[in-house]
């Protein structure tokens, strides 16, 4: 996270990691329709409307899993990982991909707000899916040295193993520790500019980008005495 955070944001991230509940609190509520489950906030529900009414779900899946007809797997696409507020997703959606075998349609009429809503929803689905996927891994035997390297590059600006994270491995065993690492707070709508929102945003980005080995390595590092 170095270079991505405003001054003092680390303090907030420490607080988020330490006190917030793990993520099952953000499970969507309500009855599923042809576009999947309702989103948990009005903002994300706007994005779901764009996603479904543009028929993205027919090829990319209602929850980004089960991509069909040769469509890109948005759950693992590096383009989605690189997107910030629709800056990558928007141009692709507006222009379409006419050179694909069955040509992804273009959506030139979507407004900037609709693109932003769509991107937020895609990132939400991706965090949900990646969380499920990574919690199912179950293997916590990683490389502690690699975990330390990852921690120093991505976490140390806000966290310290001998500071805010002292005793975290003893406090949370097994699956609970993994859940805390993946989603220390409710990140259903990581928007806004306040420090808590920034912390949620950064953890959400990490969740979208973790490789399974990254998580194993981090857990091994945190467990190491």
């Amino acid at each position: 996270m170095p270079g991505l955070l405003p001054p003092r944001a680390g303090i907030v991230l420490i607080a988020v990691f330490a006190v917030a509940a793990p993520g099952d609190a953000q499970a969507p509520r309500g009855k599923a329709d042809a576009g999947g489950l309702p989103a948990p906030t009005p903002e994300l529900e706007r994005g779901r409307a764009v996603y479904v009414l543009s028929s993205c779900h027919f090829c990319h899946g209602v929850d980004l899993t089960g991509a069909q007809m040769g469509a890109t797997d948005l759950m693992h696409s590096p383009l989605i990982a690189a997107d910030q507020n629709g800056n990558v997703i928007g141009p692709v959606v507006r222009a379409g991909k006419p050179n694909l075998q069955t040509a992804m349609p273009s959506y030139p009429d979507l407004t900037s707000q609709e693109i932003a809503d769509l991107a937020a929803y895609v990132h939400y689905l991706r965090r949900q899916g990646r969380y499920r996927e990574l919690t199912m891994d179950g293997d916590d035997q990683g490389d502690a040295r690699a975990g330390e390297t990852y921690f120093n590059a991505n976490c140390a600006a806000c966290h310290s193993k001998s500071g805010d994270l002292t005793g975290v491995a003893a406090k949370y065993g097994g699956a609970a520790l993994r859940a805390r690492v993946l989603r220390p707070s409710d990140d259903r709508a990581p928007t806004g500019t306040d420090r808590t929102a920034v912390g949620r945003l950064q953890h959400g980005k990490l969740l979208e980008r973790y490789a399974p080995a990254d998580v194993r390595n981090l857990i091994s590092f945190l467990r190491e005495r």
Partner: protein, 310 residues
């Protein structure tokens, strides 16, 4: 298996007779002489491949909508996800694809024809007909697999194939259509970059010149999205066009839209077929976005066709 106009009329008239007396009153095969059916791709909320509920759900959906004839996707017949067909080039790079493709091939070569005959029976017992088997032939097929697929279509009771394929594969299929005396109707998308794809009038004409058993399944929505004119195509090639896929897209590779809201001249095409008495079946294909069920949306598509053909 190639029908003249007169034979086409007889098929339309006879189809309901094949069904039970109670069923025939509710199932629709034509509107004012225009053959109506659906592409089972329209059902986006089906159980997955190999699920025993899949075929019964398709049958139940068709009966609820009241349409008696369909073009059924191989992904709804074979117990494999559709990527196992090898059609989508992008999917061939996916991890595990080669094994999946090999497993599907082995299954195709070993499955008894009674498997397909049983599916046909389920449809016929419900008063429904599989008119076209939608198989996306491609270079990953072996010759033995192509032969088996033709046998499968016959066992399903299909008159022929609809196929999203490419011109190079059409060349390979010539001896198969000649030997089996069964047509393959080429289905277009709107990729204008790859000259091997079916997307333009010229691409269809290249295939149609290869064999009299090659036909067209003109997807009028995709055709318009590729900035082509479906009315002109049908006027020119009505004798080689087996069916059309009725959908509404915007021009310039634009999105699918509810019927009547895109740039596709659905009404003009349907009325042309009606007024000229072309033996071209019109199969609904629902693919625009909605929160409603596929069944509800196909009903809406059908209502639109009823209105424009009234």
């Amino acid at each position: 298996m190639i029908l003249t106009r007169r034979e086409f009329g007889k098929v339309l008239a006879a189809a309901p007779l094949a069904a039970g007396a109670a069923q025939q009153q509710r199932l629709l095969y034509s509107i004012n002489g225009v053959g109506i059916g659906l592409e089972t791709f329209s059902f986006h909320d089906l159980p997955p491949a190999a699920d025993p509920r899949l075929i019964p759900t398709i049958i139940s959906n068709m009966r609820e909508i009241g349409i008696g004839e369909c073009e059924i996707m191989s992904g709804h017949i074979e117990p494999w996800p559709t990527i196992a067909t090898g059609w989508w080039v992008q999917s061939r790079r996916a991890p595990g694809f080669q094994q999946l493709r090999e497993d599907a091939r082995r299954w195709r070569l070993s499955v008894p024809m009674s498997y397909y005959a049983n599916i046909r029976k389920q449809f016929e017992d419900a008063g429904l007909r599989i008119y076209l088997y939608n198989v996306n032939f491609n270079e990953t097929f072996t010759d033995e697999e192509r032969d088996k697929t033709f046998e499968a279509a016959k066992a399903l009771g299909a008159a022929g194939f609809s196929s999203s394929t490419v011109i190079s594969e059409a060349r390979r299929l010539v001896p198969f259509v000649e030997r089996h005396k069964m047509f393959v109707a080429m289905h277009n998308h709107n990729n204008l970059v790859d000259p091997d794809q079916f997307a333009t009038p010229q691409s269809f004409e290249t295939a149609l010149a290869l064999s009299p058993y090659f036909k067209a399944t003109l997807d009028i929505g995709h055709f318009v999205a590729g900035n082509n004119d479906p009315v002109a195509f049908i006027r020119k090639h009505h004798d080689r066009t087996v069916n059309i896929h009725v959908r509404d897209r915007k021009r310039n590779n634009g999105p699918n839209r509810p019927f009547g809201q895109g740039d596709t001249p659905i009404a003009e095409v349907l009325r042309l077929i009606r007024d000229q008495k072309y033996p071209i079946r019109c199969y609904l294909e629902y693919e625009y976005g909605s929160f409603r069920s596929s069944v509800d949306e196909v009903k809406t598509c059908l209502d639109y066709c009823r209105r424009v053909l009234a």
